[in-house]
């Protein structure tokens, strides 16, 4: 239970820490998805049930200690034990179990049931998220560190890992699911309210584990579809000099930018990096300043990251690259 409250506290902290970025929620207590909604109701049912039982037990204790200190006859004591200690807990637990099990089929849709119209493949990497959209029609669309989904539609997430165990979790939308090397896990989620939600990596995965997050953007279905169609087309950024510098300084050996010679697959796809709310896996606001700082010293911002520092480049070059990247909308 403490976890839920410390989580909202963390999301408050993070929201204020990245004030420039956006205010996104990360609380299971403010559900915005089908599964999270049911889990939150389950939580409140359990919490109130637990509170009632706790009050009852403490009330009995006080009653026995302060009001009625008479010893009970053995017979009535035994029947209190039988009804209060055996029958009541068994029946209550049984009811709670039935309720939780009854929720299950809706939470994790079955194999043959409805093939989702949209599948999103997410691969955890130290310390970022590779994202590939597989719409029912049209070519796959690559992205990173951000997941967009249409409100009111079931989306199937295919979860993988390229290195160590990570865990995928968007608290306001649904439960968490581990990303395990060599295994494909599936998770179905449906956002019910438009908004931007923060998803943290929920399994310790190395030095910068706490700096591995992403934003989940739930948008109206039509808006989502036109966004996805736009993502499939290379972005045009002003400041072509930044683009040339990007290639000249070797960024393209690790990063992919559609429509250019940058075809690296080691780091996040930057084809539309300018359109994301945050950079560096949810930890920096997407501003020219922040991108410049990140390119110069990623090792300071994300210790252990495999992106090398580029502070040996002329500052103007870095700034020009950052401006160009920001323009990749």
């Amino acid at each position: 239970m403490g976890r839920y409250f410390s989580l909202s506290a963390t999301s408050l902290l993070l929201a204020s820490g990245t004030a420039g970025a956006q205010s996104s929620t990360q609380s299971v207590l403010e559900p915005a998805g089908a599964e999270a909604q049911q889990t939150a109701v389950l939580f409140w049912v359990m919490l109130s049930g637990g509170a009632v039982i706790w009050l009852g037990v403490v009330g009995l204790l006080l009653h026995a200690a302060l009001v009625n200190r008479r010893r009970l006859a053995e017979k009535s004591a035994s029947s209190i034990i039988l009804w209060g200690g055996v029958v009541f807990p068994s029946v209550t637990l049984c009811a709670l179990l039935v309720y939780a099990l009854w929720l299950m089929p809706g939470l994790r849709p079955f194999a043959q049931a409805s093939a989702a119209a949209l599948r999103i493949e997410v691969t955890g990497r130290q310390f970022w998220w590779e994202v590939v959209y597989h719409p029912a029609q049209g070519p796959p669309v690559a992205s990173a560190n951000e997941i967009r989904l249409p409100v009111g539609e079931w989306v199937e997430l295919t979860l993988k890992s390229a290195d160590v165990i990570h865990s995928f979790w968007i608290p306001p939308l649904g439960g968490k699911m581990d990303m395990i090397p060599g295994r494909t896990n599936r998770l179905s989620i449906m956002a019910t309210k438009p908004g931007i939600y923060r998803g943290p990596c929920a399994e310790y995965c190395g030095t910068s584990h706490a700096l591995m997050a992403f934003s989940a953007v739930a948008m109206a279905p039509e808006a989502f579809r036109s966004w996805l169609a736009a993502q499939a087309i290379p972005a045009k950024s002003a400041g072509a000099s930044g683009g040339a510098l990007f290639l000249r300084h070797g960024c393209g050996s690790c990063h992919f930018v559609a429509g250019t010679d940058a075809r690296g697959l080691i780091g996040p796809d930057l084809s539309h990096v300018g359109s994301r709310a945050t950079v560096a896996a949810g930890i920096l606001p997407n501003t020219e300043d922040a991108v410049t700082r990140f390119i110069a010293r990623p090792d300071l911002i994300k210790p252990g990251s495999s992106m090398p520092a580029f502070d040996m480049l002329p500052p103007d070059d870095i700034r020009a690259i950052a401006a160009w990247l920001r323009g990749l909308q």
């Binding site: 099990l101 079955f110 194999a111 049931a113």
Partner: protein
């Protein structure tokens, strides 16, 4: 041949019900896991898994009920109330009978809880 086993005095009877519970648990979980990993191995639908779990549950509950009845008999059919804490052979037997009866009750409920998902889960969850 007698239908109901003769009363024996051994500590082993204490564990009968929990062992049945454990076996039932393994049958249900391993059975469902194997079916969902290799559905073609069995060739039947998921309803076969649920029927199998139902059968295992009926068998397990009957065995536990039998163990409970034997324990009740060992406890003297409840003629004597606990605590059975005199250092006598009689109290030792009554104590063990009562403890076995309680364990049977626990195992009975646990077996039901173990089987309950099969009421709601109608397919392999991927």
């Amino acid at each position: 041949m007698r239908l109901v086993p003769k009363q024996i005095e051994t500590l082993w009877t204490l564990f009968t019900a929990p062992v049945v519970w454990a076996a039932h648990f393994l049958v249900c979980y391993i059975g469902a896991a194997i079916y969902c990993a290799k559905p073609e191995l069995v060739g039947l639908g998921f309803s076969a898994v649920r029927a199998g779990i139902a059968a295992a549950t009926v068998i397990a509950l009957s065995l536990i009920a039998l163990s409970a009845w034997l324990a009740w008999r060992q406890w003297g059919f409840g003629t004597d109330d606990p605590p059975h804490d005199d250092p006598t052979r009689r109290d030792r037997t009554l104590f063990q009978g009562f403890a076995t009866l309680l364990l049977s009750g626990l195992s009975f409920i646990a077996v039901i809880f173990t089987a309950m998902p099969a009421l709601f889960v109608t397919e392999c969850i991927r």
